[in-house]
């Protein structure tokens, strides 16, 4: 269970807090989405949830980060990495830059944690298998596509047995093929019961995997609730968000007078974006 309790965060040197009084609860096997325009605080919340803010990023954190009920303020970063693993937008800067193969790149986290060698090998191979990138194991990471790199990054998090995955706009810098690749992988992880906190502007992905969604604006939670309700809520567009294609399709169908039931059945059969 990962909880952000009334967190307010101000970066060092800034005059205004980036997020204000935000509460998020992420239980095991739950998938929660964060949506909102740029500068609405999505990334900051991801950094707080993973512990990087304020440990690696200077700033003031008011409120609490609770992991399994315990306040982790004052705990060093390396103790939190197996609680929550974070994946960023830019695939290339996430590479360690010192590993010649994908295998070693995925093993990088467990190696840093000082686990016994057999554990490192077992976890690495398990992570590669879960994301089905075993065939990439011997490739040079610097030669992979963006989508493949993101999968390698997520595999690295799985290898650390992170209880919760935090994904900060993982498909934002990918081409359509990469977006599909990563989106499918995340969907499979979600279906398998991984706990995920995902910040995204592409509401289609959120529609597919999230149980709950929070809409952010100006660093505060504008509104939240079950995913299908929130994403179909007209307030989403008022705040500048684009609703998922399924929702748009449904609205167009209603406006055009087409039988909504047929549209719903088509969507349910998997005809999403």
């Amino acid at each position: 269970m990962l909880e952000l309790e009334s967190v307010t965060y101000r970066y060092a040197g800034a005059t205004e807090p980036a997020v204000h009084d935000v509460t998020i609860r992420l239980a095991a096997s739950e998938v929660v989405g964060l949506c909102g325009p740029s500068e609405s605080g999505k990334t900051t919340l991801c950094l707080i949830a993973s512990g990087l803010a304020p440990r690696a990023i200077r700033g003031t954190l008011a409120g609490r980060l609770l992991v399994d009920g315990a306040d982790v303020a004052g705990r060093p970063m390396h103790e939190l990495v197996s609680r929550a693993g974070i994946c960023f937008q830019d695939p290339t800067t996430q590479l360690s830059g010192v590993n010649a193969t994908v295998y070693e790149e995925v093993a990088f986290g467990p190696m840093n944690l000082g686990l016994p060698r057999s554990d490192v090998v077992a976890r690495t191979e398990q992570a590669l298998e879960t994301l089905r990138i075993g065939d990439l194991a011997m490739r040079d990471p610097s030669r992979l596509s963006g989508g493949q790199l993101q999968l390698v990054a997520i595999a690295g998090l799985l290898a650390m047995r992170a209880a919760h995955l935090i994904l900060d706009e993982p498909t934002a810098e990918l081409d359509p093929a990469g977006t599909r690749l990563v989106g499918d992988a995340i969907e499979e992880l979600a279906a398998a019961g991984t706990s995920i906190l995902i910040a995204e502007q592409r509401t289609d992905l959120l529609a597919r995997i999230c149980q709950r969604v929070l809409i952010l604006r100006g660093g505060r939670v504008a509104f939240e609730g079950p995913a299908d309700e929130v994403l179909a809520d007209p307030r989403l567009e008022e705040l500048g968000g684009a609703p998922p294609s399924a929702v748009r399709l449904r609205r167009e169908a209603i406006a055009a007078g087409i039988d909504v039931g047929a549209v719903d059945r088509a969507i349910a059969a998997g005809a999403t974006a």
Binding site: L47, S50, L52, R55, A56, I57, P76, M77, H78, V81, G85, I86, F88, D90, T93, Q94, L95, S96, G97, V98, A100, T101, Y103, E104, A107, F108, G109, P110, M111, N112, L113, G114, L115, P116, R117, V120, V121, E125, L128, E129, G134, A137, M138, S142, G156, M160
Partner: protein, 268 residues
């Protein structure tokens, strides 16, 4: 998916096939060997000493390791500018040279200068050869892994490995910029001012972009447990053996012997 035999090889668990026992020596052994040869060449002085070293400590191992051709080509290429420089500067500008061999205008080539120049050339050959042999037979990551196993910190190992990888990466970026600028009509043949102006779009983004990346890379590393104190687990490290340990100590003793010989005047 178990780490199969072929993949073990590529992960470095074993050396690549077709390599000789010289390549499979422990990297530290090869490093000590190269350093002792280079320093020894400097200390020995004269011409005979360094040339002997070149024969025994550079050419012979190169033949054993099947890298003689590459070694000669690479070493010559790299040491050509300094060799040429040493030749010209010392042959023509040696103060106190009296025995003139060749007069070119106001400057004269002297025999003393030639003697000195050959000494320097022999020394450069030994140093260049030894170091080239080292880098042709050793993977940098292997050396760093070995040092890490012996106890240098994981962060120092990271810096060493990352530096080696960053150099070609940055050059690729710069080369990409050069090509892009040429496509945009950068004047690489024009006058001083034109070229100076064209430099900034090439160098600027690489430098500032790399520095801007530091923030994200730092976060990614910390998010993967990089800050944990203490040793990290190594998947693999190069093997070492007792004979090699003995050999390393013998090499160091040999170097100390040369130092003593120089200090006491046994060697000119």
């Amino acid at each position: 998916m178990a780490v199969g035999a072929e993949n073990s090889a590529r992960l470095g668990f074993q050396g690549p096939a077709g390599q000789t026992w010289y390549q499979r020596l422990n990297p530290l052994t090869k490093l000590v060997f190269a350093t002792v040869t280079a320093v020894g060449a400097v200390l020995l002085g004269g011409v005979v000493g360094p040339l002997l070293l070149v024969l025994l400590a550079v050419i012979l191992p190169a033949v054993v390791a099947h890298v003689l051709g590459r070694l000669v080509r690479t070493s010559l290429l790299v040491s050509l500018p300094i060799g040429l420089s040493a030749l010209i500067v010392n042959v023509f500008f040696f103060p106190g040279g009296r025995d003139v061999l060749l007069q070119v205008g106001p400057i004269a080539a002297t025999r003393e200068g030639l003697e000195f120049a050959t000494q320097i050339l022999a020394r450069i050959a030994a140093i260049s050869g030894a170091i080239t042999l080292f880098y042709l037979t050793t993977r940098p990551s292997d050396l760093v892994l070995d040092l890490e196993r012996r106890g240098i910190s994981g962060r120092a190992a990271f810096v060493a490995n990352a530096s080696v990888q960053t150099v070609p990466r940055m050059v690729e970026l710069a080369a990409g910029n050069v090509a892009a600028q040429r496509a945009r009509g950068l004047d690489t043949e024009g006058g001083l001012l034109a070229r100076v102006g064209g430099v900034v779009p090439i160098v600027g983004p690489v430098i500032l972009g790399s520095i801007a990346d530091v923030e994200e890379r730092t976060m990614s590393l910390e998010a993967r447990g990089f800050t944990r104190p203490g040793r990290r687990t190594l998947l693999w490290a190069p093997a070492d053996s007792a004979p090699e340990r003995v050999a390393r100590w013998l090499l160091i003793l040999a170097l100390l012997a040369i130092v003593a010989a120089r200090a006491t005047g046994v060697i000119g």
